[in-house]
């Protein structure tokens, strides 16, 4: 003490006087952003399947969309998508939930604007999208390939979260667990159910119930209770 601390402090600042500065010269030199950096929310209209996961997962009601049921293909058709960006918390829940990766954060962080309205981003359905869709619905071949695509998507969904998908055709939770387990081990069964679910739901329910009963009987025989399935719940 007695002034030594003061002199030491002066020494530290003196040392720093000649050290390299740490200032980043923004905007002359743009900052190096990490790959996961979350800047501005971006939306790709053409990829969106209007599933609504993003809208439901958003904590602050930033996202909203309008859909219309297409009469021909009986599919939801996205009309417009709105991002009310001023309420965004940059929590990434929407982007994480999106199955098509059509909503994501880019690296643009210069988000200031002069008017409140400018913050709101409205995406409208591009006209060429309708035209392309019309073309694609023509012809049997394309129809078939479309169906195949739907089956593939259903199969994927079954792998990802079987419980939720199967709850549409099966009522009892226990049955769902058994069936999802069965499908994980047997790809053929999974493919069959997925195909049926796309084409005919009622039939799918019947077939699924059959599978479950068969599995139940097998289990009763071997008495190896499938408790591992609980983890999926």
């Amino acid at each position: 003490m007695n002034g030594q601390g003061l002199i030491k402090g002066l020494g530290i600042t003196f040392k720093h006087f000649f050290q390299k500065e740490i200032t980043e010269q923004y905007p002359d030199v743009m900052p190096q952003l990490a790959p996961r950096f979350r800047g501005c929310l971006q939306f790709e209209f053409e990829k969106c399947i209007a599933c609504g996961i993003c809208v439901n997962s958003c904590p602050n009601n930033v996202l909203s969309f309008e859909t219309e049921k297409d009469e021909n293909s009986k599919k939801k058709k996205l009309l417009s998508y709105t991002i009310d960006f001023q309420h965004c918390m940059f929590c990434n829940l929407c982007a994480e939930g999106c199955p098509k990766q059509c909503i994501y954060f880019d690296h643009n962080f210069e988000l200031s604007s002069f008017k409140r309205e400018d913050i709101k981003m409205v995406y409208l359905r591009p006209a060429e999208m309708d035209m392309r869709e019309e073309e694609s619905t023509n012809g049997q071949e394309q129809q078939e390939s479309k169906e195949q695509k739907q089956i593939d998507a259903m199969q994927k969904a079954l792998q990802k979260n079987p419980g939720k998908v199967l709850s549409k055709i099966l009522e009892q939770e226990e049955d769902i667990i058994i069936l999802s387990e069965l499908m994980q081990s047997d790809e053929k069964t999974a493919g069959k159910i997925a195909e049926l679910m796309v084409k005919d739901k009622e039939k799918a329910a019947k077939v699924a119930a059959g599978f479950v009963n068969k599995a139940k009987k097998n289990r009763a025989k071997t008495e190896t209770a499938g408790e591992g399935g609980d983890a999926n719940d």
């Binding site: 030594q4 003061l6 979350r38 997962s57 940059f90 419980g163």
Partner: protein, 365 residues
């Protein structure tokens, strides 16, 4: 000579009230007669918001409670929900969570160090503290994508696996911690003016501290080695080796040195977690809709940078909490401000606010 007692409003618009604290000082000349703490300037009704958000949706809001140690309140909330639903968190996620939590603790303490520096007039101390904190912010940006409110910890684990350059960055930071502390000590702690401003200022007896429910570094500075990480270990803290730094006098200088020592200890914890980081899953399989059993309630607490951070959740069986209460350490720690300030001079209010280190986002909620 006839003198009069006058009242000065320290805050909410004041340079040194850490984001909107309103302390009404009753002064007799330069001597403080009393301090009345008025809270609520940054009230955002977070607990009410929780009732209208699903369990997952509320996660980003918790980051805004203690925004300087952003991962700690998120960790506390996620662990509470996991406890409520009986979710088992994968090993790797637990280790990553500890690393993030301790980095947040260092970040929070570094803000405390930096802010104490500027509150006491050592502007250069502010810059050095912030400079070192910037490296933690870069690490957060690397993992979570955001610097301040990184939104990285999720119910059941963490949002994404750590990137490749994460471990070298954290290692180099942890290795530099002792050097940083030497610098803070050289510039501030060892300084005679600094010691004179802090020694014997704002003494908090261990009895009073316990009586008021003070927790965290403020309690430990009073000489009580109470740390929830040791007393009631959560996560994987029971496997980690670290010390609880304590003070002896309970004054501002002790609170300050305890925080600096905690930075060192957090560095140790991070080092161990990095050494033992296992491979594996980073998030448990959590259903999209969380529906706890109706009527179930739970209280879970963690050691936040400021003290005991607890969440009390009551479920009514829906996907939203029926009631959520946050036991915010800053709120309770702030209640001793009048006690420690009384009898001191005006400048001690600033010193005491700085060393009690409240965060108003958390205490006002």
């Amino acid at each position: 000579m006839q003198t009069d007692i006058y009242r000065v409003n320290v805050g909410p618009i004041h340079p040194s009230t850490h984001g909107g604290l309103h302390a009404e000082a009753v002064m007799d000349g330069e001597i403080i007669q009393d301090v009345i703490v008025h809270l609520g300037y940054v009230h955002r009704s977070v607990e009410k918001i929780a009732e209208s958000r699903t369990y997952q949706q509320f996660v980003p809001y918790t980051a805004r409670l203690d925004y300087l140690a952003t991962n700690l309140p998120v960790l506390g909330y996620c662990q509470t929900v996991e406890k409520l639903l009986g979710i088992e968190v994968p090993e790797r996620a637990e280790y990553i969570r500890v690393i993030m939590a301790e980095l947040s603790r260092i970040a929070s303490h570094q803000i405390a160090i930096a802010a104490t520096g500027i509150d006491l007039g050592a502007t250069t101390g502010l810059m050095y503290g912030m400079r070192d904190r910037e490296r933690i912010m870069n690490i957060f940006e690397m993992t979570g994508g955001q610097r301040l409110l990184s939104s990285y910890i999720r119910i059941g684990g963490v949002a994404a696996d750590i990137p490749d350059d994460f471990i070298p960055a954290v290692r180099s930071f942890v290795n530099d911690v002792p050097q940083m502390i030497d610098e803070y000590n050289g510039l501030m702690t060892g300084n005679e003016i600094w010691a004179a401003r802090m020694q014997g200022v704002g003494i908090l007896n261990p009895e009073d501290a316990v009586k008021y429910g003070v927790t965290g570094p403020n309690l430990r500075a009073s000489g009580i080695a109470y740390d929830i990480r040791k007393a009631e270990p959560y996560g994987i803290y029971d496997r980690l080796d670290f010390d609880i730094p304590t003070g002896s006098r309970g004054d501002s200088l002790d609170r300050w040195t305890v925080r600096i020592e905690e930075v060192r200890q957090s560095g140790r914890i991070i080092g161990q977690a990095l050494d033992n980081l296992p491979e594996g899953e980073i998030i448990a399989r959590v259903p999209k809709t969380l529906k706890p059993d109706p009527g179930k309630d739970i209280y879970h607490r963690i050691e936040s940078a400021k003290g005991e951070l607890g969440y009390y959740i009551v479920s009514d069986g829906g996907n939203k909490p029926y009631r959520l209460h946050v036991r915010a350490p800053s709120f309770i720690n702030l209640m001793v401000l009048p006690l420690v300030c009384r009898g001191g001079v005006f400048q001690d209010i600033i010193t005491n606010i700085a060393t009690l280190d409240p965060i108003l986002g958390e205490s006002d909620r």
